[in-house]
Point group: C2
Chain length 472, copies 2
């Protein structure tokens, strides 16, 4: 059997495959607004049926439904395909096209490019993966692996009900040998970037309210001149926060915060050595508009700091009068949004109790912690696993020498799959390029001929990945 | 000569006097929006002409015009009457009547009450004072003092161009023996409160921007996961702020901050002893919704802290993501609105350089200070001055035993009059009651018969004050 036949089929059906991507784009599925969610899940359930799944259904959860499908190829290996069908909202200014029409524009240097909400995150990949599977069958072949599809509708809300589904379906899901997340891996220059792990995250608010404190104003901000004889929740919070970090804000002083952090394993040290050769530090700084990394770190030292250190970040803070000009006010409360990022072997259950204990120990029992997202644990797949090797082999087949990142600083719900009860290796990837995932003019390259693969290249890479996973 | 004739005239012309107050209310004069300012100044200039001023004009400044008037009674003493004709905006929700119509409502326990923007702050008093002057003349008498009217239109913007006017007109203004600010002095129970001084104020912003720092994001907030390798302007600002106060946020640790503070003079100690007897601590706490003062101070100790200590207040703070739910962000800047209140003998020129020096000394040179209002100095009139005694005598004439506050914790532009070049004693007062100056449903009691004086009582008290000032 030659994959050539399948690849030719993909090339010959370009227009049809683009139209299928556009169809899925045009069905809104904005989870934070509850817009189009069920309709989108049903559309995807229909795709699973059309592909020939023996079981295709919507599974209800406490939140949005999961579109679930089982495809039985009579193969030895089973791949659990993780998908997210929900998207970010579309109401921010700056879109050059209507965000839900699936318009294809000519975007330099890529050529034909889909500009739409969900283009790359991740409706484009969902439909491209299904196009790839259909193309195998249309070329007269059977799929090389059995598939279990899990398409969730709450990734943009922290996958909050995914554990509920995974618990309920664990017996079925345990049959899988690997979890695969179709997600384009090329940067804008065409370089293929493989990311083998993610950090965990816990997201919460800190608040100091005079009502909880029995000091300061308790109900509303009062005239600023009262600071002379009334305590200030804002000053008090400043003092509480200041105990949490070193003077440069970079070392966390919460007792036990770093206790479970382990150094990068030898395997990662090797990957970092190689990564260092292609890691374009200046390009990243330019993109972030950052002049220096912490302590002016460079090269592998900067990478290690980025990938292997946990963090305590202030995402936002607000209190009192924040309008133009002057208004004197003694605010009655102050609130912060904060996140902790977790690296191996930290657990997402630990940071909140540690912060609570720190605050209490320093006499700041009045500071309240409000957990907004229980979050994800970190997750990591060894480059040595057959699953990772299968994906790398695909890139090499297409002539790429991938840049391998042992993990990234961002977070994703991979730990829900690669820990108990499923304990499945998790890999993601695919040729192709897109960007601006949470911004206006989100895009996915469709045409071939630019510096990156387009839709056909992406679909071919998915075909190849399935064949390589079959041989794990 | 008996004041009785004048008082009877006031009672007989109640409806007419109310209508005149309403006329002034209906002319908007919102300085922060530039709304109706010149028209209001012209209206007041017209009032000065109608009263019989020999000179009545608008004096241009770099900002809003001053309505200026000179009334020559051929008297020995000259009173400079300070007025502010500008008001706060009217766009906040919660008004029970349209804020610029001058509606009179029946408000328990006061009876007839004017509910309008500017009712008590201070168009009501402006027109009541003019009604009082007109009533003296209409009763066949000459005013007992010469008057110089200075009605400014930028009090709500920090009187920013008043010094310019005072400098230009100092030769004329120096002829005055005293400055009087007509302002009702009764609280809601009818108690008369005399306030002899104010604190000074400086208002500014502190900002830490990655652009100024050469660390952290410089142009926009970046994905929160970058905190691991990029510095945080917010954490850094927290550390800078924390060096400025004690752990409870109440003692300012900026070197030199308290250097010029002097203890209350003996005269004030005596006033405080008397004040303590009527000072209703629990009522104030209830109004402010505050359970405890700083260090749980009570009585005269609380009063001393309130009236004689300078403060460093955080009026507002903001950075990063402050919306609902979760968004991970490493903000590129953080901003605070802050004020320093000044007590004798601090100078408004000192705090900003001290804060600058403190920040630099602690290595926070990257924190920027942006002065929003150069502010006022503190001001104080001794209770022993003939001017203060003249006002106290009026209250006693009407049967009140006033509660005398040696000063208040708030700020007002009195220092512009009672320091060089004018060096004039400054007093304020009048019977009557109003409240909610910067809030919806600002009001001024108009009718008599409730716990406080209404418009006639207020006008009579102004008449009495003028006669008492004539005898200084």
């Amino acid at each position: 059997m030659s994959k050539k036949t399948i690849y030719d089929h993909i090339d010959e059906h370009f227009d049809e495959h683009v139209a299928k991507v556009q169809e899925l784009i045009r069905q809104p599925s904005i989870s934070s607004e509850g817009r189009g969610i069920r309709e989108c899940a049903q559309l995807i359930q229909g795709y699973f049926e059309k592909l020939g799944c023996v079981d295709a259904r919507l599974v209800e959860t406490s939140g949005n439904p999961v579109a679930y499908g089982e495809y039985d190829a009579g193969a030895k290996k089973t791949v659990l395909v993780y998908m997210m069908y929900d998207t970010m909202p579309v109401d921010e200014p700056g879109w050059i096209v209507p965000p839900l029409e699936g318009r294809i524009v000519d975007m330099a240097p890529f050529g034909k490019t889909l500009v739409a909400r969900g283009a790359v995150n991740t409706k484009g990949e969902i439909r491209a993966f299904l196009n790839a599977c259909e193309s195998i069958r249309s070329s007269g072949q059977e799929l090389p692996v059995n598939l279990i599809f899990v398409a969730e509708g709450e990734e943009e809300m922290g996958s909050r009900n995914l554990p509920e589904f995974l618990g309920k379906y664990q017996e079925k899901l345990k049959r899988a040998n690997v979890v695969f997340f179709p997600l384009v891996a090329q940067n804008q220059n065409g370089k293929v970037i493989v990311e083998l792990g993610v950090k965990g995250i816990v997201y919460f608010e800190l608040e100091l309210d005079g009502k909880d404190w029995s000091k300061g104003p308790t109900e509303f901000g009062i005239h600023g001149s009262n600071k002379s004889w009334v305590d200030s929740p804002v000053w008090r919070m400043i003092q509480a926060l200041a105990t949490m970090t070193s003077e440069d804000g970079n070392q966390v002083l919460i007792e036990g915060f770093y206790d479970d952090v382990v150094p990068p394993p030898t395997e990662d040290e090797e990957l970092l050595k190689k990564l260092q050769q292609t890691f374009d530090e200046e390009a990243i700084k330019m993109e972030l508009k950052v002049k220096k990394f912490i302590n002016d770190l460079h090269g592998v030292e900067a990478l290690k700091r980025y990938l292997y250190s946990p963090q305590l970040n202030i995402d936002g803070i607000w209190a009192g009068y924040t309008g133009p000009g002057t208004k004197t006010l003694l605010p009655h409360k102050v609130t912060l949004k904060m996140d902790v990022r977790l690296v191996p072997n930290m657990s997402k259950e630990k940071p909140i109790p540690l912060i609570r204990r720190h605050l209490d120990k320093h006499g700041f029992g009045e500071v309240k912690i409000r957990i907004l997202e229980k979050g994800y644990d970190w997750a990591k797949t060894s480059v040595r696993t057959p699953a990772a090797q299968a994906v790398l082999r695909t890139y090499r087949e297409f002539g790429f020498d991938p840049e391998v990142w042992p993990n990234i600083a961002g977070s994703a719900p991979f730990s829900m799959f690669n820990r108990a009860p499923l304990n499945l290796p998790f890999v993601m990837g695919g040729l192709g390029h897109g960007a601006r995932a949470h911004s206006p003019n989100e895009y996915l390259v469709i045409g071939e001929g630019g510096p990156t693969a387009g839709l056909p290249g992406m679909e071919k890479s998915f075909v190849s990945i399935l064949y390589n996973l079959a041989e794990m």
